[in-house]
Symmetry: none
Subunit: 209 residues, 4 copies
């Protein structure tokens, strides 16, 4: 039987595979390192038999990889849907900053993405490799921001004199800065004030005048 990849259509994912994915994501969010997850831990968390995992995957690595890729794809889709729902750049930025605050406690989502994107390990290479496969381009973070900011630019909400890619990275990095600040303790600036500063910085740099 041909095994799962994490790139399947949502509706084509068998229930047991879905349970496995959720279990992996949950364990990683709880602080386990993807590289040291044990198959027994995954299948127990998923509530299925250990042998069953091997009906759908060839190896432990494939299970974890599939789950991470699936999660990133899902998170990216949700993020794009949410951003598209907002018609104005400033609302999109607000949404992103609010999401970061929400993530502060359950350090998951998109935070994980950044972590994996800055990683240099073998595991991460494989995630990158798989993400570059086939039709996955659609779900990569850079592409996503490019599309969203591209539309904003066409609507005339953004400065026209800066290259799109610069704005993509700069916006991303400011969000990231807020993310790190939100999880940092002992800051001399209160978080709401920091949020305001970040928001203002973004608007000052990118918004059309």
């Amino acid at each position: 039987m041909s095994k799962m990849t994490g790139l399947e259509e949502y509706s084509l994912i068998p229930p047991k595979v879905y349970q496995l994915y959720q279990a992996v994501i949950r364990l990683i969010e709880e602080g386990s390192d993807p590289a040291t997850l044990r198959v027994s831990a995954i299948t127990e968390e998923a509530g299925i038999g250990k042998g069953t995992a091997y009906e759908y995957f060839d190896s432990k690595e494939d299970i974890v990889l599939g789950a991470v890729v699936y999660q990133m794809q899902t998170a990216a889709m949700e993020l794009e849907a949410e951003l598209s729902k907002r018609e104005r750049f400033q609302d999109q930025v607000s949404y992103l900053l609010d999401e970061v605050s929400a993530c502060k406690t359950q350090k998951s989502c998109f935070f994980k993405l950044v972590h994996i994107l800055t990683d240099n390990s073998e595991f991460s290479s494989q995630v990158h490799h798989k993400m570059n496969e086939k039709a996955f381009e659609r779900y990569r973070l850079v592409g996503l921001f490019r599309r969203v900011l591209g539309e904003d630019m066409e609507r005339g909400e953004l400065r026209q004199d800066l290259p799109l890619d610069y704005m993509v990275f700069s916006l991303g990095s400011r969000i990231l800065a807020y993310m790190v600040a939100a999880s940092e303790e002992g800051l001399q600036v209160e978080l709401p004030r920091m949020r305001e500063l970040v928001y203002r910085g973004i608007m000052d740099e990118f918004a059309a005048r």
Copy 2:
């Protein structure tokens, strides 16, 4: 014997321990995951016997942790020394951007730091925990930037109306954005142009007018 922690003074590190640290750093830079490094791989890379590692450390985890903490401490000290050498904010920013370009190939240094700092895993918690111990505050990245930017501000090179901590995080995130862009393929903007944009963005936002 009392075992190593990674927080020792440079001159107090026994040669074998130094070899172990270098080996761990080299292996991680080559793409190994800290969580899956094998003791035999480390000691072979270090050119010493496997048992010798256990003369200085209690467990594999301690070896890797010690090496990472040592490396972060060392990298932070070097970075601060280099930044202090430069008298003007704009030279400091140039230095940081040049370093990022140099790191592009050997994805180590400071890039690793960011990765580990955004991690949520058990290993990362232990790094954080050890970094918060004793006199290590001195070497934490946030503190480092605070000191350097603090001096710049006193010299009147920076805007006085923004909180220091905001500038710390914002500067850090812009450097990070450039770092990710430098390692990204298929960018529509050439890297030198990107560098210029990042430099200009930083100056526009922070430099005293």
Copy 3:
């Protein structure tokens, strides 16, 4: 799964555990020291995989401990059954002496028990500790002899003027003396003659007149 203790009911011992117990006993009887048995030696002797042992026990020590405790329990039960089958004190003594002769070659059974009971090592402490647990009192050697000799006394076969406990220890030690003599080389007295002397000594001291 909850792991084995050596105190389980015979019928509740899984086959693999039984194989492990037999293997340990066989290896000890062949002269291996319980403290230096290797797990691989045990599982090879048992004809099962090394990992399987750890499905049922937490550590090597637990395997060996479980086997020894099981063996002592089993040996004590068999011994009591055999002694109860004999209706007269003199037949019981004869049985014990015959058993010793039979054991001479396969130095196991009861001989081992004595050895472990006179030991002062950590391992021995653990055996004692486990034997004192729960319902194990029933299988301890002193208790066993007390019950058997107690019945003999009630039937009027033994002297009434000696305390039961003295007879228990004295009988036990005489049997032991014969045991050591049987394994000793270069004796000036032939074994059958020795047996007769021991038998006579026991009868003279304990039998009702």
Copy 4:
């Protein structure tokens, strides 16, 4: 250099070797199993360097074996000297019983001997083997009792109708019984009463009428 055997004359034992022997004996008395003693534990206890032990012995086994053999030799010599000092059989028996009581707390001396004599392990075989070497016969327990009881018999203190070897084993076993009883808890007979019974039993069986 020729290494130590444990059979050397007391005056020929170098101080470091003596320290090693004492350390081994002390560790065994404290409950360590001879088979699992670590060289580092022995040399630390002895207060000498680890390498030094190998100046005098070829292997760990030799150190432990040498120490045990030395100890048995010494204990046997002391025992024989003490027994020879006593002129009457009844005083000799009293001395043995008193020794057992004294040993009750520091479970060492002679108790250990019994343990090793009933052992069936590889280590024990080696002790036996070494004891059978050369002039060591002199120090074996059976021989010792034979000499002492032989003299008693010549002096007419013992029955003439029993073979010497039977008396040797029987006396030994009765002493052993008292030894085990002394270390047993929950006895229905008080120890002094037990001592009296054992003493009387010995006298009744062996003393000339």
